[in-house]
Symmetry: C2
Subunit: 739 residues, 2 copies
């Protein structure tokens, strides 16, 4: 059986370009939202396209592939530049909105506090920046205090409320973090409405408002989503991406890496995130390469905007990073690792409970009201507790800082006599943030979970650091502290670094990432000399987290709750079952019989069933697999011919049936080229691992040439997520969540 | 057809334990050196083993899997500790041997210079360390000079010669870097003699001697080899690893990561190296996890030994790492990237030519003499050129250093008036090192290529940095330098950092690694703020290198020259061919016919052909695949029975043939469970990518149930390496290279 002529298949995949309205419809609806793409088929189409290009004669044959490459790199680089600039300007916007909650610049409304005071020499008081009470001329202390808290809370509510209104009215997919959806999309899920220009705009704007409102959320995940929207938007200008879902996904993977790169100022972290979290990367070095470039470009662009005025990428610079550490410190650090694993699992559990409660409650009909209420409560609590009044990123930066007598002490954190107060306040802040974050992550605003997690971990870590330091100062001669320098004025324990360890442990517990996390933390803090303790704490917290809840981290939990067809990269172990137990046996399959069914029969079959393809057999013998779309495209004209001629023709799929053109149509060329068969005795776990590694949509089981059954991706996803009790609890995307 | 009883298969794989001598032979020779393991089969055996364990009743069923895990982690951790300590002590040994070439400690022969002078307060002259002329009381300048050069060269020759003698006499596999072999082994190649305890000992000892001799080689690759030998040695104590080549390879991957971690003091780099260079990692998070732990443990152990007395892991600390960089500097850096790509390809080419010349020449009969000659020449040249007289690592450390008026100037490198002399010397050093390295890498001593490459790149980078600095100082007001601080006393261009960039570019060109390289350089230098320029230079040099020579880096070239069955992770693109063009058609296959061949026929078949397995058909219809070893194991007793009874029996492989025990034996249970079939119309590139992703040994092509052909890993390797002209030029391991 010859391979179909490449030009023919090319026609087919390019059919979207043909102006015939029926064909247009066919191809526009090639994948509807909620379906899964067929990687093998997509790649075959892409292969045919490049073959056609290369087989062109003369200059055209040379230039066409080159144009393709140029277009691809153009999209990658523009996405990098775009997300770098967007990220930078969002930071500026958030800073301005955040500062607006405390006061305004006397000579211009649109200056933030830093810009407003940039003319003042360091050390002098900045008179140009006025708090609201100064600006409005309120002099009574009580009135000042009331005014401040009123403005603080009401602006928070206004920001959060408008973010929620924007999201609800214009782009419902712009809520939440977006990373679960991106993981699902990169795995082959189709969700076009998640990547529209509107979503891009609303998510970016809503994100700035939500972060500025002081809700317990971060900008990291949403920035990845924004980056993917950009890449999608740019890719729509080029035919090669419009026509190939696979090519598009490779771009999206690079865009996601660029998003992480900007979110954390961590270009390497972006690439590693792509490698570890987005499986698309691991398979092709070419894709990793694009991610590398996109990350680097994005970081350069971000550095060019220079939102923090430090001309550095390192966000939370750890001072005295060159300090060495002592062996006894491993004890509190291991403790923090264990604690991070436990608390991380608890946070995931609370978050799931909150999501389920919201869903099963009247609340889900009033998402904006919920956001307003939550932001009011958050603002009120934050205003009362001194550490959480500032932006979470500022809090983290201060917690990571070592005490330095030459610098201003942050709310008395370095006062050795106030140790117990500080520890109490830090633990209180962490506990409140756990509750607030568990509720906030899932509300109708763009929200990332990274920054709150870092903040919680940093509070706890700093508390442990303060306790260790106190212990060491109280008993400097205990044998465990003998490795400390004898001079009491030299610092032995660095509580700031304990905050970094706490943050890594907490992140490990919540996201269950490993290497990319270490790299991100590393680039975030510049604490190169402390890479080992960071690695150890991440390792331990992941171990503990995985031991407590076999959920695979917060993103895997949300993917499962949404019911996306995403294969978790777990090592599945069967108990001796074979593929035969997993497959849908042939009796329960809808099968096309060679040389038996008429064109009209097949049309009826297409109407009756919405499977994405059908196995073709000849008296139980497996001939091949045909996809729904190819079949529909092929029989639509034949159906019309049969209707006019009045003679129904049989459909023939193999050379062995004689094919008289009067009585039969030859559809042999429609069979998929790449179909995997296995024997049904194959172990179940091998079937699962093939789906994981090859991104398959189905595997056919044959035995001695006879069709025995079939397994689809959906079956495997169901198998892998059956342990999680709330699988599919928030079905069919966010829209249903409040409609 | 029921799946065979797990216990039965377990019996089979455990047969190596049975004391029967014939069975023992079978299993000892299950894989001979030079063959390839079958991953699917290995994993199936492992699966059966764990099933048997878990299905045990009572405490045994609980404890056995737990013991397995404990054993595994024990090996991982012990390997980490072992390689960390070994690496640390090797450094100490090398330092002592290297210092011995210049003098000795007056109060103890076994102290190196640093240890000898440790009692002296900084700033004072160290009188305890005596050069040879001081020690021997030579006072005439000329005689001193002659004595020094004589000792320098003759000790170099002695060290290198004894390394070569050790390697040649005791462990021929201990020569070269070892990374190509490890990549091949991790891909499934069997080369047990590469991992023996003798190889471990000789490689470690020889490495110290070779490095101390001042030959142009590094310790990085060989340390990875040593680490793998350790893991192999430790794993032999546990049955689960002895019986499973796949499990062993997973351990080796972790060990390799630990080796890199120790070689560069770069625990994250080790994990990343595993991820990027050793494909085994990408497939299983569990394996990556082990690499993570092994790397961390190894780094902690190394830090505990503290060979450099700095109690830091960062080997070549870049001072003033917090300096920002200016946009115009991208021009020289991009230039360095391009240059690194070109020079890297050139170095690979020269190295290949040198290897071929050695092979086709009388030289290969006198490997020790060659090493002696090369070390004499290297030592003589190095002694004359001031920059290369010290160990390469010391040179690199000095080149990476910024000029600091408070520190001692390294050979006038910071003297602004001697710019041209310095540039000339640096370029000369680099050029000589290229030639020496191209020759040395492949001689009969343990030799890594990382450090020489870094040294070459650092020389060139520093030269470019000096030129740029000179240009900026000469024309400080040119528009391109306007971003520099106006005060001429403030440094604008940091030549030390140019050396780092040069090193990364050169490494990118030679190894074609990307992310792991950036991370390693990063941990090596601590230059966190300069991650972007490093990324960019690595990117560009890889692009340029790949454009010039499609060889995939030095390791891939050596694998191809050796002819190891390793699948390069390239993106293969066909020109429209299908699997039919790649497969060996059924007419040229050796096939077992169901119910036709007698036991004796099969035994004869096993003797006549050395294929690792045979397809089984029933009148052209494909039934399954049977491996050579299973078949041999099964028919050996049957053959004896038939010989005694005198009645030859037929072999039956499917239920459809009636199986009368008098006339036939049922071998149905021997068919492999996991066999992949595809249609022969499947595109060639999909077949290749399946081999790459699933680590297959063969794929069967069927059509309508009939066997059409088969593709094996060897065919795919031949396809992928056909572009490289010297494939298999140094066949069958190192032994043949000189015998």
């Amino acid at each position: 059986m010859p391979r179909p002529d490449p030009a023919e298949v090319f026609e087919l995949t390019e059919a979207g370009q043909v102006t015939s309205p029926t064909q247009q419809t066919h191809f526009a609806s090639r994948y509807v939202d909620g379906s899964t793409i067929d990687w093998l088929r997509e790649e075959a189409a892409e292969r045919e396209r490049t073959h056609v290009q290369r087989s062109q004669y003369g200059v055209r044959g040379l230039l066409l592939p080159w144009f393709d490459a140029v277009q691809m790199w153009l999209v990658v680089i523009l996405t990098g530049v775009g997300i770098g600039l967007t990220g930078g300007w969002l930071d500026v916007l958030v800073k301005w909105l955040g500062d607006l909650r405390e006061g305004r610049c006397s000579y211009g409304f649109f200056y933030n506090q830093v810009a407003c005071c940039s003319g003042v020499t360091p050390g002098e008081a900045c008179l140009e920046w006025r708090t609201w009470s100064e600006f409005l001329g309120v002099r009574v202390i009580l009135a000042q205090s009331l005014l401040h808290s009123f403005v603080y809370v009401s602006l928070a509510v206004a920001f959060a409320g408008s973010a929620a209104v924007l999201v609800k009215s214009y782009a419902p997919y712009a809520f939440h973090t977006g990373i679960p959806e991106i993981k699902a999309i990169l795995g082959g899920y189709v969700l076009t409405s998640f990547l529209t220009p509107w979503t891009l705009l609303i998510k970016a704007l809503g994100l700035a408002l939500a972060v500025a409102s002081g809700l317990s959320l971060g900008k990291e995940g949403p920035l990845v989503h924004v980056s993917c929207c950009m890449a999608y938007l740019l890719s729509r200008f080029f035919k090669q991406f419009r026509n190939s879902e696979a090519q598009q996904r490779k771009l999206l993977a690079a865009a996601a890496a660029a998003g992480v790169s900007v979110a954390f100022g961590s270009p390497l972290g972006g690439v590693l995130f792509g490698l570890e979290e987005l499986d698309t990367f691991a398979n092709e070095s070419e894709v990793m390469w694009r991610g590398f470039v996109a990350s680097a470009v994005a970081a350069v662009s971000l550095q060019w905007v220079n939102p923090f005025g430090t001309s550095k990428l390192v966000l939370f610079q750890v001072t005295n990073g060159s300090d060495t550490w002592r062996a006894f410190e491993l004890i509190p650090w291991v403790g923090l690792g264990v604690f991070g694993g436990v608390l991380g699992s608890l946070l995931i559990k609370l978050n799931v409970e909150a999501a389920l409660y919201r869903r099963n409650n009247a609340l889900h009909e009033w998402p904006v009201l919920e956001v307003v209420g939550a932001s009011a409560i958050t603002a009120a609590i934050s205003y009362l507790i001194v550490f959480s009044r500032v932006q979470a990123s500022e809090l983290v930066a201060n917690l990571f800082q070592e005490c330095d007598p030459t610098k201003i002490d942050y709310h008395g954190l370095c006062n050795p006599s106030a140790m117990w107060e500080n520890v109490f306040l830090l633990i209180l802040t962490a506990a409140l943030k756990v509750l607030l974050t568990a509720w906030t992550f899932g509300m109708m605003v763009p929200a990332g979970i990274f920054l709150p997690t870092i903040a919680i971990g940093a509070c706890l870590g700093r508390a442990v650091g303060l306790l260790t330091q106190g212990l060491q100062r109280a008993y400097p001669s205990a044998w465990i502290f003998l490795s400390c320098p004898p001079d009491p004025s030299v610092r032995c324990v660095s509580p700031g670094f304990y905050a970094v360890i706490g943050a890594s442990a907490m992140l490990g517990g919540v996201t269950r990432m490993t290497i990319s996390l270490v790299i991100i933390l590393f680039e975030l803090t510049g604490a190169l000399s402390h890479v080992l303790p960071i690695m150890i704490s991440v390792m331990i917290s992941k171990w503990v987290g995985d031991a407590i809840g076999k959920d695979g981290g917060i993103y895997a939990v949300w993917i499962a709750m949404r019911g996306y067809p995403w294969l978790p990269p777990v090592d599945f172990h069967d108990k001796g079952e074979t593929g035969a137990q997993l497959m849908r046996p042939v009796e329960r399959l809808v099968v096309i019989e060679d040389d038996r069914e008429t064109v009209a029969d097949l049309a009826g079959m297409l109407n009756d069933h919405d499977f994405h393809g059908f196995p073709v057999v000849h008296r139980h013998e497996f001939l091949g697999f045909i996809t729904r779309d190819k079949l529909r495209l092929a029989i639509t004209p034949l159906l019309a011919e049969d209707a006019t001629s009045g003679r129904p023709r049989r459909c023939v799929f193999s050379q062995r049936s004689p094919c008289n053109p009067e009585e039969a149509v030859d559809l042999t060329g429609l069979l998929e080229e790449a179909v995997l068969h296995l024997r049904q005795e194959v172990p179940k776990e091998l079937v699962v691992s093939m789906f994981q590694k090859l991104n398959l949509r189905q595997i056919i089981f044959t035995s001695g040439g006879k069709l025995r059954g079939m397994v689809t991706k959906t079956d495997v996803v169901a198998l892998l997520t059956c342990n999680f009790p709330h699988t599919g609890a928030l079905p069919s995307g966010p829209r249903r969540a409040w409609e």
